[in-house]
Amino acid sequence: MKSALLIQEINKAKEVLPESVVRYIEDCVSRKNPNSHLISVLHKVQDHFGYLAKEHMDAVSILMQIPSAKVTGVASFYHFFNFAPRGKHRVSLCMGTACFVKGAGKVLDKLKDHLGIDVGQTTEDRLFSIDVARCVGACALAPVMIVDEKVYADVKPDQVAKILAEYGFEPRKAKK
């Protein structure tokens, strides 16, 4: 039996998430082993918002009745989930062995330097965010940088600014 206070909490949580996700959660909860659907629920939430905010995860915790420490424990385990809004353009650098050997580390340094952010972060103007990938399977093109869907091959550190400029990068604006 749910107490009135809990029903209040549940209703508040429902307002945080889009209706489709709430319906999905309700469906999951009615199935066998409801907790096992946590990851797919988090996927849906991230698909919608682009990231997982504290209040999103707390809402999931209440609606699925899974302790929030477990929800954030699962979410923080997987690289796929991110906890801050991503930039409009997602710059992904391959750090696989081949790319790394061919100088991806230096490209990454340049990238971080230009944008003034670290891996996993987003620029203040929300234009760019940096991710690193573990081998995208295009070793012949190493080092590989991917912006949104576009793949750049054989990237040299001094080409980074030019590539970013295609997406609206202005050196003075992005740097703090």
Binding site: M1, S3, A4, L5, E9, P67, S68, A69, K70, S76
Partner: protein
């Protein structure tokens, strides 16, 4: 009846027969082989994370973790070989590689399981030194979290989940960045933590400790303008001896009093006094609710861990919970009102120290509800049993050889009913002794309510009082409390009176109690039983065994409070609760 299947195996050449679902570790323990272990805890689920307990099993390519490896028929196990010694030593060395290694200045020096293990396994040099995780200490709450000392054994996570049902802790992040923390890696004070301190008890290192209050007490003791008084909870007299080599279950009330005088406290009072007072107030509240046919069951409110839990997990039970302050807060309030008045002291110059078996009491003392009108808490400092043991050692008190002292009057007089407050079922028993006589007006002949004694998680009984059947429920450990309360919520059973203590076994096994001696473990029911037995023996030896017959309490009402549940009582001895956020998931 099903006959349990038995398995016979050989451990180090010794034939041993054990029940079918046993593990190698348990089988070895049955023939007195103590396989070293770290993440393993007999009363928590088995996760086999640390691999310290590895053994060699014939037919297995690699050593296996004995804590989780099930026994099979004819199995041949070796628990001590040159390979195992090396493997275990290397594992502990690798754990130490990511450890601050500040043992001499660590609060767990001497009680640390990692330290002991490193010694036992012969770690004498550091072969692996590498990057160490750097995470700041979280001192926001009475339960302090130092992730740098954490070895990720996960005992705290399991005790919080399985025993307390709080689920505040989980392993966050991944790989090298693993950290045991509340949701969102937030501060303990902002989490759903109820400050019960069971994580402190099960932690093998100093990753969880209580927040130290000894410095403020030392400071007060050396301040010539301060009148420093101390009062000690019922459970302390049954456990503090362990810190000085006494066997668990040795009552040391007299030595405790003497040691506190030696430490320089001006007056040594007994929280037992206000435990008696709690019984009078609570039983009056109970009888009034029964007579007015108001909301029942009445749920006790002495355990601050339970109160915190109730506010976060069961706020709908606020109206059922007794409005009585805990004995600690009643005592501290009286010390700065009644006692100050009697002694003609300015309450602002009285420094009240409470010795408690509990970390949640530190939280309770700081609650805004327990502030005096001049903005300072009624309880200035709460020391856990462990902290007091350390203070006495620091002061060079030879506890073992002390003469017995007696508590100061009048706030040191107490009945046997108060002594048993420290054990699960004790508050219930004390309340029944008084409620029975108050309702019936007759003398209760059999004072021992044995149905509510013992360390079982949930105890139930029905008592006949004046033709009325009073259903009582007693729970200790909050997962057990959940089970009991869910039965109340579903209407499966109607209770009149419920006692809940947050810690398994009650205050004798509280979050501030001494780490167990060799051969016993935290949460060991035997340890709780021995400590409780000490309290019941004190009760049994007293002639004054009912709270309402305590002459000092009678005098207090006559000279100061008026009648039980009077206006002044409500002002000084009662409190209120509020739903707290974030809410816990039941």
């Amino acid at each position: 009846m099903t006959i349990e299947k038995k398995i016979t195996l050989w451990i180090d050449g010794v034939k041993v027969t054990v029940p079918e679902k046993s593990t190698i570790l348990k089988a070895a323990a049955s023939i007195n082989i103590d396989i070293p272990s770290l993440c393993y805890h007999p009363d928590l689920s088995v996760i086999g994370a640390c691999r310290v307990c590895v053994v060699e099993v014939e037919g297995q390519r690699n050593p296996v973790a004995s804590c989780s490896f099930p026994v099979t028929e004819g199995m041949k196990v070796k628990t001590s070989t040159p390979l195992l010694r090396r493997v275990r030593r290397d594992i502990v060395e690798l754990i130490l590689d990511n450890h601050p290694m500040d043992c001499p200045s660590c609060s767990r020096n001497g009680t640390c399981e990692l330290q002991k293990l490193a010694y036992d396994l012969g770690v004498r040099e550091r072969l692996f030194e590498g990057e160490r995780k750097r995470i700041p200490v979280d001192t926001s709450s009475p339960v302090q979290r130092n992730p740098e000392k954490c070895i990720l054994c996960g005992r705290c996570v399991r005790v919080c989940d399985e025993v307390q049902g709080v689920h505040n802790l989980s392993v966050q992040n991944r790989g090298f960045h693993n950290v045991v923390a509340p949701a969102h890696d937030c501060k303990m004070i902002d989490s759903i933590c109820i400050h019960c301190g069971q994580c402190v008890n099960v932690c093998p290192t100093a990753a969880f400790t209580e927040k130290d209050a000894t410095e403020s007490v030392f400071e007060a003791l050396s301040n010539p303008d301060m009148h420093v008084v101390v009062h000690t909870a019922p459970a302390i007299r049954a456990t503090i001896g362990e810190g000085f080599g006494f066997r668990p279950g040795t009552p040391v009330t007299g030595k405790l009093v003497t040691s506190l005088r030696m430490a320089g406290f001006h007056k040594v009072f007994d929280t037992n006094f206000s435990a008696d007072l709690t019984i009078i107030e609570e039983s009056t509240e109970f009888i009034s609710r029964v007579q007015k046919k108001e909301r029942l069951p009445l749920i006790t409110s002495c355990s601050p861990g339970w109160v915190n839990f109730m506010e976060r997990f069961y706020p709908e039970l606020i109206p059922l919970t007794s409005s009585c302050k805990s004995p600690m807060s009643m005592m501290s309030t009286l010390l700065k009102t009644y006692y100050a008045q009697t002694m003609q002291l300015d309450p602002k110059n009285i420094f009240v120290v409470a010795v408690m078996p509990c970390t949640a009491k530190k939280f309770e003392a700081a609650r805004p509800e327990h502030m005096a009108p001049w903005g300072k808490p009624y309880t200035d400092a709460v020391l856990t049993t462990r902290e007091l043991i350390w203070m006495l050692k620091c002061l060079g008190v030879d506890f073992h050889n002390l003469e017995d002292g007696a508590f100061d009057s009048p706030l040191g007089v107490s009945s046997g009913a108060a002594d048993i407050f420290g054990a699960t079922g004790g508050v219930m028993e004390a309340a029944l002794r008084t409620a029975y006589e108050k309702i019936t007006g007759k003398e209760l002949e059999a004072l021992d309510f044995t149905d509510v004694r013992g360390v079982e998680g949930v105890k139930e009984a029905s008592v006949q009082i004046d033709g009325m059947t009073v259903n009582i429920g007693v729970a200790n450990g909050l997962q057990n409390a959940k089970n009991l309360l869910d039965r109340v919520a579903s209407g499966e059973k109607e209770y009149h009176l419920i006692e809940i203590m947050a810690c398994p076994g009650g205050c004798v096994a509280g979050g501030g109690q001494p780490y167990p001696p060799r051969g016993m473990y935290v949460l060991d029911p035997e340890l709780a039983r021995l400590r409780a037995r000490a309290l019941y023996s004190i009760d049994g030896a007293k002639t004054l065994r009912k709270s309402h017959e305590n002459p000092a309490i009678e005098a207090l009402y006559e000279n100061f409070l008026g009648a039980p549940n009077s206006h002044l009582c409500h002002e000084l001895l009662h409190t209120h609760y509020e739903p707290k956020f974030p809410r816990g998931v039941k």
